[in-house]
Amino acid sequence: MTVTGTVEKKGFGFGTWALVSEDGTTYELKDPAAELKQEGIKVEVKGKIRKDVMTMAMIGAVLEVESYKLL
């Protein structure tokens, strides 16, 4: 799937990177690349939802990034 949205750092644990889509859905980024770990950048991410993964942040569906484009 493809998600377009803004990267945000959420305050769970020492910090968790999330992608908040245009429609307001929050996804947790699974092991994001360093380039993605920037507060406020707009990106388009292609990836898949990992239903077999659970996290300590529990902020939303876990999105494993396959490729991305900075906007």
Binding site: F12, G13, F14, T26, E28, M54, M56
Partner: protein, 592 residues
């Protein structure tokens, strides 16, 4: 004889342990001593004595306060040793009393310096719960990012865990989340360092299923749940979630639940009206998060599947967040650990796990019962249409009290003992009720008689039992009062054969039928040809001794008065008993 000796030792042992029990009155802490000088001692004398003390101990002796002048109350720094010396010194004749200046504290507040930041512990009333239990003997499995051995976990007990992410036994933390969660459950408390934990005498079992980036697979989590159940964990805490339903995890949860493990999980931080998995599963207690005001936090899930609410914190500042010791996330910083404020349903769940451990340690074994206790004791929130709070706000003290209700805990029992005076040995043995000397005379007398008849005295149960029961019975039982139970059984077993006729009814005069050779005669006739023959012989001798001594000390017989007639009656019967015993014993001459 041997049995009597053993019995005496037993009584002495019990007596010793009861006497050396230090009641609450002598257990206070103190580091100074009160000297209350008598009003009739002149100020000059007091001044002189105080200066002497000051010189001797090298410390100041001061009036306690401006209000102490009238009563001459002075305080000197000192310990038990100083107290003893002062009491023995000539000073004591000038004082009304010299006593420890006990330090009083409010409820069990731990000495951890940053305890003030833990609003969440006051919120759940943990201090009162600590009066009853601190979770000793319970193991809590923390299924998370691992647990780092940070300084404020130094006194905390660790059970053997496992790292499922890297497949090794050492389940250390490389993220920070798991250590923080473990801190809420069992941070080393009262160690004069850092902060406190809820069930600080419990053991934590580190099970690492989440990686350094905070995520983990359902397979690892399910296996960790099984590991915990197989390795005697009593409580499982899962501050993790997401994904969907999984059969493998469902199976593992059922397995653990069937083994009696209480399973607790965080409801999730999506702010949506349903709990995440695994909290959502029926056998798992789902916990939503509250803020210092007791409201649901904005991030916390609510609604479907939420069972109970506990402090989850807001933000990452000292005030409002959940403050614990965890590993330092900065690899370049030489400091190995930090105190960090976290927020989340991840922080709320371990509060429930900690309290579940407290409840478990009071003796409640069943997982379902513990869950029911946690829910029933929680502070219900009126008007909770959207189910923000489940059954209500977690309350540690109410939970522990509910768990103990109907159970006589050791603490309750000891408190009751102290208050009721039962620990006072004098309460138990009413020495005045039993005339000790005559009784001893009867026992000794019966043995003497046996020897005089030149009967061989083997250590046979029969003969010795007969002697005791015939002469005095277990007479010390007569003065024994067992709580408020009827006392007649004590009198019955504490009676000699002659006394049986009167003691149960509580009369002090002998019954003439019992205080005679009649029963020994009957016993001898019945048992002469059986293995209990020596019991009959012993009884006869015993009765003879009893009647003989009673003839001189207390000859009261019902219907016969207590004068010469009664005495004669007793002496004649005693002689008859001796004769009977002699004849019966002679019958047993060994044949070739």
């Amino acid at each position: 004889m041997k049995k009597l000796a053993l019995l005496c030792l037993f009584v002495l042992g019990i007596g010793f342990s009861l006497f050396s029990f230090k009641g609450l009155a002598q257990r206070g802490e103190f580091d100074s001593i009160i000297l209350d000088f008598r009003e009739d001692v002149s100020l000059a004398d007091i001044s002189e004595e105080i200066q002497g003390l000051s010189a001797k101990y090298g410390r100041d002796v001061n009036l306690n306060s401006v209000f102490s002048v009238e009563d001459n109350v002075y305080i000197i720094e000192g310990d038990k040793k100083v107290l003893k010396e002062l009491r023995k010194s000539p000073l004591s004749k000038d004082t009304e009393y010299i006593e420890p200046n006990y330090l009083y504290k409010i409820n069990a507040v731990p000495n951890d310096p940053q305890y003030g930041k833990q609003w969440n512990f006051r919120d759940i009333n943990v201090e009162q719960a600590w009066d009853e239990t601190k979770g000793a003997g319970v193991t809590v499995a923390v299924i998370d990012t691992g647990i780092g051995k940070v300084p404020d976990l130094k006194s905390t007990k660790f059970a053997k865990g496992y790292d499922f992410v890297n497949d090794k036994e050492d389940a250390g933390d490389d993220h920070g989340h798991g250590t923080h969660v473990a801190g809420t459950i069992a941070q080393s408390t009262n160690n004069g360092y850092g902060v406190a934990g809820i069930a600080y005498e419990a053991s934590v079992m580190p099970l690492k299923v989440l990686s350094a980036s905070g995520g983990g697979t359902v397979a690892d989590i399910a296996e960790a749940i099984k590991f915990a159940a197989d390795n005697d964990a009593d409580v499982i805490n899962m501050s993790l979630g997401g994904g969907g339903a999984s059969s493998m995890m469902e199976e593992a949860i059922k397995y653990a639940h069937d083994k009696g493990v209480v399973i607790i999980a965080a409801a999730g931080n999506e702010g949506s009206n349903s709990s995440s998995y695994p909290a959502r599963y029926p056998n798992v207690i789902s916990v939503s998060a509250t803020d210092p005001a007791g409201d649901k936090t904005s991030y916390s899930n609510f609604g479907a599947g939420v069972d109970i609410a506990a402090p989850g914190g807001v933000g990452m500042n000292e005030s409002g967040s959940i403050w614990q010791n965890t590993i330092n996330p900065d690899p370049d910083d030489p400091e190995e650990s930090v105190f960090a404020g976290f927020q989340g349903t991840s922080m709320a769940a371990p509060h429930v796990a900690g309290v579940a451990a407290l409840v478990r340690s009071t003796g409640v074994d069943s997982a379902d019962e513990i869950r029911d206790i946690l829910k029933q004791s929680s502070r219900k929130v009126e008007e909770d249409h959207l189910n923000h709070f489940g059954s209500g706000h977690l309350d540690a003290n109410a939970a522990v009290q509910l768990a103990l209700k109907g159970k006589i805990s050791f603490n309750d029992f000891f408190r009751w003992l102290r208050k009721s005076g039962y620990l006072n040995l004098g309460f138990w043995i009413d020495g005045g009720a039993v005339a000790l000397l005559p009784k001893l005379a009867m026992v000794v007398g019966s043995y003497l008689l046996a020897w005089l008849i030149r009967t061989y005295i083997p250590m046979t149960l029969g003969l010795n039992t007969g002697l005791i029961f015939g002469s005095s019975g277990l007479f010390f039982l007569q003065g024994l009062y067992w709580f408020d139970l009827p006392q007649w059984p004590m009198r019955l077993f504490g009676s000699s054969i002659p006394e049986l006729g009167n003691v149960v009814l509580g009369n002090s005069n002998f019954n003439p039928l019992f205080a005679s050779a009649l029963i020994p005669f009957a016993l001898t006739a019945l048992l002469l040809n059986s293995s209990l023959k020596w019991f009959a012989i012993g009884s006869s001798i015993g009765v003879a001794a009893c009647l003989g001594v009673s003839a001189f000390t207390d000859p009261g017989i019902w219907l016969l008065g207590s004068g010469a007639i009664a005495r004669t009656y007793l002496i004649v019967n005693a002689a008859l008993c001796i004769g009977l015993a002699y004849l019966a014993s002679q019958k047993d001459t060994p044949r070739a």
